[in-house]
């Protein structure tokens, strides 16, 4: 009993000590950054201002944060770490959740447009289906496509947006110049993007890791610069306008008598096109997922994963690593090409602005945050990152707090960075790190971390089989 208050005292003094050190560091860092400010006065002279109040409040917040972290959070975390067994009681629940997660989320995705219509009405639902539904699904699809290259084959590709651009421009140029329909151009755009994937693949076959990342980054920039500077074809910065929108298998979404609404006896509304686009990108994304899931269980997918693990060992087993890498680049590029042609037809206008390095970085961040190789993880990361950005647009009440010129979306990159740092600290291998084996011998349906607990001990039939 006497030990308890003494331990609290020790914890309190430790927390004060840590808070004091943190406060000193914060003061040292923030003094030049926050404490002093230069402003121009009316005669264009630089005047040094001091902001002691702001500095003091920031240092106070940081110090207090550290104090409470050391006092409350650290013991709690230590206690949580000391009781790993508590996880096992909730494990069956998570196992059940995992099994039902895919079907349930699929149902939700299919039912999302009617739900949005019901809740927000015809006018309000456009925003929810387009900004949240279609926008997020494009990134889910791009994430799943890049997941083949980065997550499975382990080839860090920082120029993935180049294939997206190839797909978008293929669709835009062929549709505006030759009047081909979306459904013919979709496979063509995919094939062209896959071809560019192979073209990129050849020079980088011998590169891995950082070197590969740099070359692919340069490739992405090259494509963008070509799009900007090849004005006769791409129209440069101005981009390509009036790209044909997708039709409902030949029936356009417009207000004419031949339009979708008139043909089906509905009142005209732009929402039908949005809903159609939603189901289109959902189907494309699901195709990407289905192909990935199937390929992972085939020799090609296993070779990709083996390539990620150890390229030299792959070669020693007779695997042609050149072809294996090129198929990964081609497959990833193809799905980006599909997504790109969808993007062009959805927007009706594309310009090189849409294909900056930032886009590649966001897609890579989605794959890394989600957990390399995990489809569910990538989807969750895309929802968090893209949906989060869209949510930030909605936070108008913050303007009341921070003033009317406050734009929350400008803090998007800051929050991305913060999310990355937090993931790196707490989940260094991504949100979802469990990997389902592509083939099992003993046929446990449970995920791996459960399997370990139910492994037969000596004397069970399995162990007898082994010794026999």
């Amino acid at each position: 009993m006497r030990g308890e208050p003494r331990r609290t005292d020790a914890r309190l003094s430790e927390a004060i000590r840590q808070a004091a050190i943190t406060g000193l560091i914060a003061f040292g860092v923030l003094l030049p950054l926050i404490g002093f400010n230069t402003v121009q006065n009316i005669r264009n002279e630089l005047v040094l201002e001091t902001r002691w109040g702001l500095l003091a409040s920031l240092v106070a917040i940081i110090t207090a944060g550290r104090f409470f972290y050391a006092l409350l959070a650290v013991p709690w975390l230590a206690k949580a770490a000391a009781q790993p067994e508590s996880e096992s009681s909730s494990a069956p629940f998570f196992a059940r959740l995992r099994r039902w997660l895919a079907p349930i989320s699929l149902c939700l995705l299919v039912l999302y447009p009617p739900i949005a219509l019901g809740l927000a009405g015809f006018q309000g639902a456009v925003k929810w289906i387009d900004n949240f539904g279609v926008q997020i699904l494009i990134y889910v699809m791009l994430g799943w496509g890049l997941n083949i290259v980065v997550g499975l084959a382990g080839l860090l590709d920082l120029g993935y947006v180049a294939f997206y651009a190839v797909g978008a421009y293929s669709y835009a140029l062929l549709a505006t110049n030759f009047g081909l329909s979306f459904w013919i151009l979709l496979p063509i755009a995919g094939a062209l993007a896959a071809l560019w994937g192979i073209l990129l693949g050849f020079p980088v076959l011998r590169l891995r890791g950082d070197y590969l990342a740099i070359v692919t980054l340069a490739f992405g920039e090259i494509i963008r610069l070509v799009l900007i500077n090849w004005v006769p074809v791409t129209n440069g910065y101005a981009g390509i306008t009036s790209i044909p929108r997708p039709t409902f298998f030949g029936i356009p979404f417009n207000a004419t008598d031949q339009g979708f609404a008139a043909r089906f006896g509905l009142e005209f509304s732009p929402i039908y096109r949005t809903i159609f686009l939603y189901y289109l990108i959902l189907a494309l994304a699901l195709v990407t997922a289905a192909v990935t899931v199937r390929l992972r269980r085939l020799p090609l997918g296993r070779a990709w994963e083996a390539l990620r693990e150890d390229e030299i060992a792959c070669r020693s087993l007779g695997i042609n690593t050149t072809n294996t890498k090129l198929t990964a680049f081609a497959m990833g590029g193809m799905f980006a090409g599909f997504a790109g042609s969808f993007f062009a037809s959805r927007q009706g206008f594309i310009s090189p602005e849409s294909f900056t390095f930032m886009e590649s970085a966001v897609i890579v961040a989605i794959v890394v945050l989600g957990g390399m190789g995990s489809l569910i993880g990538v989807a969750i990361a895309a929802i968090l990152m893209i949906g989060g950005t869209e949510v930030m647009r909605e936070l108008d009440f913050l303007k009341i707090v921070f003033g009317s010129d406050f734009d929350p979306t400008q803090y998007r990159m800051l929050l991305f960075g913060l999310a990355m740092v937090l993931i790196m600290i707490f989940k260094p291998r991504g949100l979802i790190t469990t990997r389902k084996p592509s083939v099992v011998l003993h046929g446990h349906p449970e995920p791996r971390w459960l399997e370990r607990k139910v492994r037969p001990q000596a004397g069970t039939p399995l162990a007898q089989e082994r010794s026999g």
Partner: protein
């Protein structure tokens, strides 16, 4: 190991008792092999022969060039000079060796035999068509994949053909299902042999060290090799595991018609299982012969220990 012993195979015993198959034509001929890295000559004019069905050991002090020879044989290095020829099937094909060399082709197949010039082939074809498999000095498994998956990756080329380069496989074609099932059966056979069947669905990286060594050998065997090149398979194993390893190697060369080329520092293993030993020092062959000949070779003893022969007689070169 238990499985091997039950089959009545010679699990242990002096090398002289291990009987090689009657046929002792060469499977691998290395002629005048040289490998230079800039000014450094790692292998210098090395010639040797590995016979079919034999366990041939390549020994020598650190830096003697043993692993370089392996890398040349398995296509990871292109030798500066020399010829590495491997033969499959009918032995009469050896007569074509000089013609093949002169024509500048990679391989020749005629009347049930095939001859490959390994120095002209890229590394993956050495395994795929010439059927030479290898393991590595520092184990190279696929650590984040399961033990079973490791063995299936080794059967990639067979499965890839069966899956119609993924097209038939993606359509769930029955022919692919059968091929995959037989690949799993082969993996199960080897897992039973190396006593890892209970851990088939665990990650390869989670196996203990000895298990990883065994798995790497099993993975190489899943490529159906005619020549298995093992780079220090006993490194880091305890004496019990080393004895087990010797049993596995006897089993592989005896039951699977696979010749073995072996780099090893553990002399107890080398002396016990080898039919033939080649000793390298500074990239050159200094001795070549049966274990008994090598054990008493003055040059070998000098290269290893740099001391008088009398001291060695009671020292490390003796088999236990």
């Amino acid at each position: 190991m238990t499985a091997v012993a039950e089959k009545g195979l010679p699990a242990a015993g002096p090398a002289s008792e291990h009987t090689a198959p009657a046929s002792s034509a060469p499977i691998l001929r290395v002629d005048h092999l040289s490998m230079r890295f800039g000014g450094l000559t790692a292998v210098n004019d090395l010639s040797f022969v590995a016979k079919r069905g034999h366990i041939t050991a390549l020994i020598g002090p650190n830096g003697a060039g043993k692993t370089t020879v392996f890398n040349c044989i398995t296509g990871f290095y292109k030798p500066t000079e020399g010829r590495i020829a491997l033969q499959l099937g009918a032995e009469s094909i050896w007569d074509e060796l000089d013609g093949l060399t002169a024509r500048g082709m990679r391989s020749i197949a005629r009347s049930g035999g095939a001859l490959f010039l390994l120095e002209r082939m890229p590394d993956y074809l050495v395994t795929r068509t010439a059927r030479v498999a290898r393991t590595f000095q520092n184990i190279r498994l696929f650590p984040a994949m399961t033990v079973l998956e490791n063995l299936l990756v080794a059967q990639h080329n067979t499965l890839m053909r069966a899956s119609g380069f993924s097209v038939l496989g993606a359509l769930h074609a029955p022919s692919y299902s059968r091929a995959e099932k037989s690949a799993v059966d082969k993996a199960r056979y080897w897992l039973a042999k190396i006593d890892l069947i209970a851990r088939a669905d665990d990650l390869a990286g989670e196996l203990p060290y000895g298990g990883q060594r065994r798995l790497e050998i099993a993975r190489a065997m899943c490529t159906d090799p005619v020549l298995l090149c093992l780079d220090e398979p006993a490194a880091g194993l305890n004496p019990h595991e080393s004895a087990e390893l010797a049993g596995y190697l006897h089993f592989i060369s005896g039951e699977h018609a696979t010749s073995i080329l072996l780099i090893e520092h553990d002399m107890s293993v080398v002396m016990e299982i080898s039919d033939h030993i080649i000793v390298l020092d500074h990239g050159q062959r200094i001795a070549d012969g049966t274990p008994d000949m090598i054990r008493n070779d003055a040059k070998v003893i000098a290269a290893y220990l740099g001391v008088e022969q009398e001291q060695v007689a009671v020292g490390a070169m003796q088999t236990p």
